[in-house]
Symmetry: C2
Subunit: 471 residues, 2 copies
C-alpha cells in the first residue's frame, strides 16, 4: 500500500468510527503532513481519495469537512428465480456485449476486465520480452498436454494459500477459467444433464452450459451469504442434478464470500447427494480479507470438487492462462482437453510462472486488492449520488464488481441500448439469469479508474435510469 | 533456394533423366565450380546432399560416382478399412505418444512438429519481443471473439493463394487447427453422428471425434490419389453420414495431393448427398508444387466446406494460431467458440500477423518447402537402405511425413515399445485407424535434420524391425 492510501484508510476509519463527526472540520493539509511525517502532496492525495468516496467535502478557502451521510442503500434481498431446470437463452444479448469490446470509443463498464495499467505488471512484460529473446525454442514448441511444469509448480504453491495441498501433477493448464470450466463440465456431464447454479450467475458460464447442452436450475442466492442451502437441498431432492456450479469467493456478480461454515455445508450436501462441485475461484485472490478465504476444494476429501481458476483477473486477460484441479476426474479432463482444444501457448505460461516465482505476482495482487477496494467504495458513492434513491447495492467483499438493483419498472435491457448510443457499455442483469430475471439490475465493472470522465459516465448512467423511471 | 540446393537439384535431375548413367564418374568439384560460377564449398555441399540422398557415392581419392540404384520401393496399395461406423479407441496409445514429448532425451520421429530452428524465423522472435515492449496493452487485453482483425486480414490474403476469396469477417481465429476442427464439428454435428474419414487418418482428429462422441467410418484411401470416391459414395448411400473429413492437400499421413478433378468430384458428391466437408489444410502451403494446389473450399458455392488450418506446420506449434473459414456455419462456430473455449492469446496472433505483413512468412515457407523436400528424399533413401526390402513407402507431394508399410507380420505397436526404451519415438500405424488396422505401418517425421545421429536412429529403427521380422 502506498503512503497516501494508508493515510486515507486511517482517516476513513476515524470518520467511520465517529472520531470525526459529520460536518466537523478536518485537520489542515499542513498539520496532517507534520503529524504523520509525510509530504503535503501525500496528504492531498489522501484527501482526494476520501473526497472521491464522498466521505469528506472540500469547502473553498476553508478546508475539508466530514460529509453529511445518507444511510447506505440496502443490499439486494435473496433472489427468487424459477425453480426448475431451463435452457439458457440470451446468446444474442451476450454477443452484443462482447462485440462492444472491439469499439475503441466504448467505455466498458459491462465487461469484467481488470486494470492492466499498473506499474507492478512491468516485470511481466520484461519477462515476455526476455523469453522472445533467450528462450525462443521453449516458446515456439508444442506444450505438453497438461501444461508447462514450471507453471503448475507455482500454481500448486499459490493454491496452498487457499488451503489446498496438491502436486503439480494434479493440475491441468487451460487457456483461461472459462475453458477450464468447459473441460470440467465435459469431464463430468452428458448433454441434457442438469447443473445447479447461483442466481444471478456469470453470463459466460451460463452460455457455456448452453453450448454444451446442459440445463441450468437457478437456486435462490443471497447477496451476502451466497447460495441458499435449503433451496439447493430441495432442488437436489427433486431433480437429477449432476453438480452445482459456484463462485463462492468474491462472487460474480454479487461479490459475497461464502463463510467457511457454509462452504463446508455445501460440500456435505454434495457428498450426501453424490454430486460434484464446480468451484470457480477466479476472483478468490482478490478478496478484501487477508490471508485469502479458503476454497471449498480445501475441504474436499474424495475428489468431487473440480476447482477452476485463471490469471485473468489477478494479472491479465490476454495471457489466457488458467487451470483446473479436477480431483478424481483428472484423466477425463486430460482426455477432453486433447479432444476439444489441444495444447496451450507456452510463452504466456512461462512468463507468468517467472512472474510468480520472482515474487512480482504477490506484490501485484496485494496492490490491486487495495486499489479495487478503494474503487469499489468510490463507485458505490457515485451510484448513491447519481442513481435514483430507492435502489439496492451489493457490498462486495472482494473483486471489483458491483451489482445494482433498480425499481422493478426499470428495464435495463432497454436502458443499455440507449447507453450503447452514448458509447457506454453496461451489463444488464438479465444476462445473469437463464429464466429472464433481473431485467431491473445491472453489473458495473469498478476496475475502471475513478477519474472525472468515469464519474461523468456514472452520472449519465444515472440520468438514463431516471428517464427510464419517468417514462 | 540457396545455391547449393539449386545445384543439387540440377544434378539430381540429370541423374534421374539418365544424363549421367549408373556408375559413371561425376565432374570434379573444381570443374563444376568453374562451370557454374559457384564456390568450391557450394559444390561440396551440393554433393553432400546428393550423397545423403544416395544418388551418388564417394570413392576415396577418385571423386563421386552415380550410385547403383535399387528400384524404388512400391507405394502402399489402396487401404481396406472396415466398412461401417465405429467408435475411435486407442486413447492410451496416443497419450503415450504425447507424453514422450516431455522426455528431453527422446528423439521425436513420431510427432508432427516442424523444424523451428531456421534463421528465417528470426523476424518472428523479434516481433514477439517488440510487442512485449511497445504494444503491451494489446497483448494483455482480452481478444475479440473472432480473433485479431490484423491477423484475419493477412489470412484472407494467404487464402487467395489457395483460390479462396474471403473477407476477414468470414474467418474465425482458433488456437490451432485442432481446436478449429473441434469447433467445425461442434457447429455441424450432434453426439452420435457419423463422419466419414480417410483411412489412415491423423490420430489427433480421430481422438477429437471420439471426444465429441462422433462415430467414424473409414473410407479406403489411395496413397497417391486420396480417398476413394466410389467407396465414399457407397458409404453415403448406406449410412446417415453428416460430413466427410479430409486432408486433401499434403495428406497426413500419406502425403498425397488430391487432383483438382477429384477435389471437385468430392464436393459434387457432398452437394448431391447434402453433407458438409471438413477440409483440413494444415500442410497445404508446404506442397512441393508452386503455386500451391487449390483447396476444395475454393470451389464451394453454397458454404458447405468448413476449412480449417493453422500456422503450426508452416511457422511454429507454440504460437497456437489457427483459423476456420466456416462458410454458412459462421454464427454457429462463433457461438460454439464462446461456449467451449472463449478468446485466444492476442500476442502470438499479432506477432504472426506482422510476420506475414512484412513478407517474412513467404520467405520462410518458400525455404521450408525446399528443405522438407530434400529431407523427405534423404530419409526415403535411408529407409530403403536400413529397412527390410519388402516394404512400401509413400512418395509425399509435400509436407514432411513419410508412411512406411512393413510386412504383415511386423507389429509396430510392439516395436515402438522396444524403441521407446532406446529413446526413439515413432508413430505406429494403428493410431491412424479407428478399427485397429495398420499395425504393420509407421509414420516418420522427416522435419528432423538428416544428420549423422538421425541416420543412426533410422538404422536402429531398421534393426528393431528386422528383429521383429525374425521373431
Ligand atoms: C466468474 C467467472 N468465471 C470465469 C470467467 C472467465 O475467465 P477467463 O477469461 O479466465 O476464461 C470470468 C471472467 O469474466 C468470471 O467472472
Ligand atoms: C492433419 C492435421 N490436422 C490438425 C493438426 C493439429 O494442428 P494444430 O497443432 O494446429 O492444432 C495436425 C497436427 O499434427 C495435423 O497433422
Amino acid at each position: 500500500m502506498t503512503r497516501y492510501q494508508h493515510l486515507a484508510g486511517l482517516l476513513a476509519e476515524r470518520i467511520q468510527t465517529g472520531l470525526y463527526l459529520e460536518g466537523e472540520k478536518l485537520p489542515s493539509v499542513r498539520s496532517l503532513s507534520q503529524q504523520h511525517g509525510v509530504s503535503i502532496s501525500t496528504v492531498q492525495q489522501a484527501y482526494q481519495v476520501l473526497e472521491n468516496q464522498q466521505l469528506i467535502t472540500p469547502q473553498p478557502r476553508s478546508g475539508y469537512f466530514v460529509a453529511h451521510r445518507k444511510a447506505p442503500p440496502p443490499v439486494p434481498a435473496m433472489s427468487r428465480p424459477v425453480q426448475r431446470p431451463v435452457e439458457v437463452t440470451q446468446w444474442d444479448e451476450v454477443l452484443t456485449l462482447l462485440e462492444a469490446r472491439s469499439d475503441k470509443e466504448m467505455v466498458l463498464f459491462g465487461g469484467g476486465a481488470p486494470d492492466i495499467t499498473q506499474a507492478t505488471l512491468k516485470p511481466l512484460w520484461r519477462e515476455m520480452s526476455r523469453l522472445a529473446q533467450h528462450q525462443v525454442l521453449d516458446a515456439l514448441n508444442y506444450d505438453t498436454l497438461n501444461g508447462r511444469r514450471e507453471l503448475r509448480e507455482q500454481i500448486a504453491r499459490l493454491m496452498l494459500d487457499g488451503g489446498i495441498a496438491l502436486t503439480a501433477d494434479e493440475i491441468v493448464i487451460a487457456s483461461g477459467c472459462h475453458p477450464a470450466m468447459s473441460l470440467a463440465i465435459l469431464a463430468v456431464c452428458q448433454p441434457g444433464d442438469i447443473i445447479a447454479v447461483e442466481s444471478p450467475s456469470y453470463y459466460g458460464t451460463m452460455q457455456l452450459l448452453r453450448g454444451l447442452d446442459i440445463k441450468a436450475i437457478e437456486i435462490p442466492t443471497d447477496s451476502e451469504t451466497g447460495i441458499s442451502l435449503e433451496a439447493l437441498e430441495l432442488a437436489l431432492e427433486q431433480w437429477p442434478i449432476k453438480g452445482v456450479l459456484l463462485v463462492p469467493t468474491c462472487n460474480n456478480p454479487l461479490g459475497f464470500i461464502m463463510s467457511e461454515t457454509r462452504k463446508k455445508a455445501v460440500l456435505a450436501l454434495a457428498q450426501r447427494h453424490d454430486i460434484v462441485i464446480f468451484e470457480d475461484d477466479i476472483y478468490g485472490e482478490l478478496a478484501a480479507e487477508y490471508p485469502r478465504p479458503s476454497t471449498i476444494k480445501s475441504y474436499d476429501i474424495d475428489g468431487r470438487v473440480l476447482l477452476c481458476s485463471s490469471f485473468t483477473k489477478t494479472v491479465a486477460p490476454g495471457l489466457r492462462v488458467g487451470w483446473i484441479a479436477p480431483g478424481r476426474y483428472l484423466d477425463r479432463v486430460i482426455h477432453k482437453k486433447y479432444a476439444a482444444i489441444g495444447t496451450n501457448v507456452p510463452s504466456t505460461q512461462l512468463a507468468v510462472a517467472a512472474f510468480i516465482r520472482d515474487g512480482h505476482y504477490h506484490r501485484h495482487v496485494r496492490r490491486m486488492r487495495q486499489i479495487y477496494q478503494n474503487r469499489l467504495e468510490t463507485y458505490t458513492c457515485w451510484v448513491r449520488q447519481y442513481f435514483p434513491c430507492d435502489i439496492c447495492v451489493t457490498r462486495p467483499q472482494g473483486g471489483y464488481l458491483l451489482w445494482v438493483e433498480l425499481p422493478e419498472t426499470v428495464d435495463m435491457v432497454c436502458v443499455s441500448r440507449t447507453l450503447g448510443r452514448l458509447k457506454i457499455q453496461i451489463a444488464p442483469g438479465s444476462l445473469f439469469s437463464a429464466s429472464g430475471k433481473y431485467r431491473n439490475c445491472l453489473r458495473l465493472n469498478c476496475a475502471l479508474p475513478p477519474n472525472d470522465e468515469n464519474r461523468e459516465v456514472i452520472k449519465q448512467l444515472g440520468e438514463a435510469i431516471e428517464s427510464a423511471l419517468e417514462a
